[in-house]
Amino acid sequence: MSARNSYVGSPVDRIEDLRFLRGRGEYVDDITRDGLLHMAVLRSSVAHGRIKAIDTAAAKARPGVHAVFIAADIGPVMPKIPLRTFHFKVTPETERYLQPVIALGKVRYVGEPIAIVIADSAALAEDALEDIAVDIEPLPPRAETPAAQRDDVLLFEDTPTNLAATVTCLRGDADRGFREAEYTRREKFSIQRHTAITMELRGLLTEWDAAQGKMTVSGAAKLPFFSRRVLAKMMGLAEESVVMIENDVGGGFGVRGEFYPEDFLVPFAARQLGRPVKWIEDRREHMLATNHAREVECEVEIACRRDGKILALRGFAYVNAGAYLRPSGLGAPHNVTQMMAGPYNIPHLNLVSKTYVTNKSPAGTYRAPGRFESNFVCERLVDLAAQDLGIDPVEMRRRNLVLESEMPYEIGQFTSDTPGSHKECYDSGDYSITLDLCLKEFGWAEKQHIQGKLIDGRYHGLGIACFIEGGAGGFKEDARVVIEPDGSVSVFVGCSALGQGLETAFAQIAADALEIPMTAIKGVYHGSTTLVREGVGSWHSRATVMGGSAIILAATNLKDAIRKHVAERFGCTATEIEISDGIAKAPGGRSVTFSELAGQRLAGEATFHNHLHTYTYGTHCAHVTVDPKTGHVGIVDYLAVQDVGRIINPKTLRGQSIGSMVQGLGGTFLEHLVYDEHGQLLTGSLADYLMPTASDYPNIRSIELEMKPSPVNPLGAKGAGESGIISAPSVMANAVAAALSSLKVQPNELPLSPQRVWGLIQAARQKNQ
């Protein structure tokens, strides 16, 4: 890259902001079409039941209603939404737990689609829902994991059990580790059901061109190429006949853009009626219908030598998947075993996740799936062991961190009850760097005097936690770089924008790779299936690494194409052509600008293949106060330090870091999807489901480093979109435990709501009396 051109690493202002700040973003509900019809969904009000009858006659007779569809209208074969796994093959046994696109015979969660109404307006469609009569014979709900585990009531009567999947992470010989240990401790942990809650609601607009046999779906996100494959198969269309269009997306965090029942129902209705059909979720629907996440109970045992060396972890994670295995439903169950050892060299692991179907909304991946949960377990266990062994918690961590000399570090073998297995490696890093810097910048040593002190009615505590974040999954990504007729350059990429500033980061990477000013980049076009041959998308902190690397390869190919073309023009060899500042120079002072190449349709296309993941790593420190009278936890200071290998844009990276830290605080202290014993969701609005607001957490700091580049991609970058959220619950729980050390309170269950913390204090006081 040209020394003069160094957009990568600079805090470049975001391109996207120019439209977003003016209200000119185009989200799916902002688009309309002539002849547009609107869909509303009748959802089950019962958590578990058998559908005896559905009467749609009155709804169909209402003015403005064009159609009402139920399962019987879908066709002879009810499509089921497939599971997406990269490492394991899906067996027929697993497929029994997949979701039909509309309730077939039974309902298994409150919110499950039973019927859809298509009408002239969304209001008329919603009005008509009230005229659909559904007779449901209630069955006993099994909403909580322990209830589902009993198997006395089966959600799927053609299966022998509600246990839908088992994933195991093995390394060494855990039983040997425990035999050799001088110290062991077993603890139970629980993480509450909560989820992403994107600010934009899901939505879709489908157009069906019967003459051309072509379907166009607007509102795609996250992984449009996967969704296209699924939809084409369900519709009996060739993939080329289905176009997925990505509009601006108001937040993804893992839940947006997955294939949901509506992703079939809207296109189905559009094809049946030959009219464009739009559906926009409302917030109550969102709370019921968009993927939930995180709910898991863990029972894990740690084995150590007396000097603090961790020898083994073994135990179980019991995951509440909700009513069906959604496409990303095994993401967290996989990661919760894979990530349990975190940044530590633990020679023996035997960690098993068991995933149960229950009568709650189906769960999927939410930012740092399985990582948030397992980090909470691991970092709590490290603190508990350090305390029992009389070792300083920082020293305990230092003695166990994977060393730079051990990189690449193989973390374990994964098996599953579906065939297949794989191994996983940490790519690079010096984990002591972020630990040391975080301690220093936080003032860990200087603040030790405050540990556990009661000052002005509040206990003070300091907590620490270390983490690793996996990134760059999905194996490959496509990019195409084109010189436009006006001499500018367009960048096309298969990744999806979810709000992370992809256009800016990719324009920086492309401008550097082509050695042209960013202003010469006409645009970065992403997500839609029309742009590249076979894109993948955005999850697993992959877009910047995978898409960015693909752009570098495509730019190299474009430069080769330019050299070849210019060499032919000047009668020299391609190797003699030098390209810089948008000019191709041949020997003898002859040159051509990109603008002069404009008519030549020169383009570079490339696929970046990569089966190795990146691992960002870091440390969090927090200083909290706990009010023993209310259980309220206040944050005095919260600092995260992470090494992301290579920083593309420090400003957008800081946004990812601070934003995910605060999102993690929501999951730690506030957010909880609460169900009652009937399987009814009690937190169905934003007034009931608390999320962080501007006045909650003002004292948040983050430091991003680029110390140890990743060796597995040409950028040296590591995925960094999730790190802030991973250690939020563990560092806060460790800090709360430190604050309440005089009471011997050990918070091992989330959320750390005022009620929970107050209850722990009361219980401890009674026990200590």
Partner: protein, 153 residues
């Protein structure tokens, strides 16, 4: 009513919210709808100088009022000082809550150009942003105060 300085006249169903009227009849889609129960603040517009949830107001209630949306605070040329500060501080990610936060901050700083960080956080606590963690938004609003002080004096 007037919307962004232009007189508009329309007949709407009584149940039409101001948000739906702005978005679907006037096609001013910068105003976003995030919850329709007055919690998230994405639909905030300025009605007679006050920041108002357009999802909780019926269009007919705005008869005779002066309504300003994010489009009314924007020009094709340069970004406003408030918008510039948002961009500088990285206060925008997915952009969905952004119009409601810009209108809320504009109404606040117009009335209180000396608002301190606590006041800014208090007022913005009615707008949920899921991406940024609020830190850069507060930095941006505090920086933009200077432009509003000048405007006032």
């Amino acid at each position: 009513m007037t919307v962004n300085g232009k007189a508009v006249d329309a007949s709407v169903e009584p149940r039409t919210t101001l948000a739906d009227y702005l978005r679907h009849q006037l096609r001013l889609t910068g105003t976003h709808v995030g919850c329709e129960h007055g919690v998230c603040g994405a639909c905030t517009v300025i009605v007679d100088a006050a920041a108002v949830r357009s999802c909780l107001m019926l269009a007919v209630q705005a008869e005779g009022a002066s309504v300003v949306t994010v489009e009314g605070l924007s020009s094709d040329q340069a970004l406003s000082p408030l918008q510039t500060a948002f961009r500088k501080h990285g206060a925008v990610q997915c952009g969905f809550c952004t119009p409601g936060i810009v209108t809320t901050a504009h109404a606040l700083l117009t009335a209180e150009p000396d608002a301190d960080a606590d006041r800014v956080r208090e007022v913005l606590s009615g707008n949920i942003c899921r991406c940024t963690g609020y830190v850069p938004i507060v930095e941006a609003v505090l920086e933009a105060r200077a432009a509003y002080r000048v405007r006032r004096s």
